[in-house]
Symmetry: C2
Subunit: 191 residues, 2 copies
Amino acid sequence: MVKIENSKKTIINLAESLLQDKGFNGFSYANISAELGVKNAAIHYHFPSKEDLGIAVIHRYRERFKLWINNSRVKDLSPVDKLNWFFSIYSNFRADNGKVCLVGSLEAEFNSIPEGLRKEVEALHREMLTWLESTLSEGKEAGVFQFNGTPASKAALIYSSVQGALQMARALGTKKFKDVIEQHKQDLLVS
Amino acid sequence: MVKIENSKKTIINLAESLLQDKGFNGFSYANISAELGVKNAAIHYHFPSKEDLGIAVIHRYRERFKLWINNSRVKDLSPVDKLNWFFSIYSNFRADNGKVCLVGSLEAEFNSIPEGLRKEVEALHREMLTWLESTLSEGKEAGVFQFNGTPASKAALIYSSVQGALQMARALGTKKFKDVIEQHKQDLLVS
DNA sequence: TTGACAACTTACTAACTAGTAAGTAAAATC
DNA sequence: GATTTTACTTACTAGTTAGTAAGTTGTCAA
């Protein structure tokens, strides 16, 4: 009998990677079990349904994001550095590896994924938008960001753009993604 | 024997709708044949493989986009109205019906779709970006648009944002999409 | 040392997937 | 009027999917 080390964590890691790579409808339990050298029933033991597995991936990401933004290494940054940190989540490793945002991947397939997973995606999206909004607000008040409109709609613009740009990078290359990030900075930063 | 009227066109219509709704890996030939009241082999007669069908959908969209932008009803518009026309493609009917951009849908699943389809998606994306870039360029020269950076990267920003915002609308509602469009106008238009 | 429990395997199912080969009916062409 | 072509149906396949029930093994606690 093959024992998986840190089974739950290892399975979630793999599922997260597959989600970003192939999408929810693009991977199967067989992909995971084959990779780990176990039978598919071993995956079902930990996550009875695919919906459970998907939810676990997003839930962990929500917890992680909450930890990040409340950790002093992010919380105490200047608004400009907070924004750079946010962009770096996607620039380092994701765009270069053809991976996309979990939220974007699942929202693209939103009408063909289970109900419970949709709720989880919605919650994550709201949480990330809320953080981005308050960061923009903070920066505007501090006089380092300039933009018209509300912080909420500017946050929605930036977030949706990052989401779309990661997908764009797959077809048109990483450079396009980096161009978009630079453009956001030019639009936003007071020079 | 049930005869489909305008069979090829009707099948492509349905496939396009399913693509925008469920994604490439989220629909099957059975969905289409059931909807039309025929057998799945009837669909295979017109489009031997699913890749063929996907390519046909994107190819038709490319032709349609080319016709639109070369038609005087769009070509002769002012830059501002061209941009409004572009936004209206997505505002009217797509965002409200939970449908997303074809390009976005397929790029989100890029690593789990057939090779030939990827090429077609890439071509469509390039064509749309090129048009948007030249529209932005035209508007900047005419003094009706204001933005830093190159028209190319501003075009990539706007396009990726529309793509992401359509996906966002599914989880967070249509209003969020409309906020993003308004924000783009505020960012861009000379007041 | 025993028993309980966790983490698997074995072996299976029912439903669905894209795709095919051969047959049929109606319409168009000769 | 005969023949060819188009657009389907019938009937099937091999592979994959998520999911389950029952059995096995290794570990840890009493």
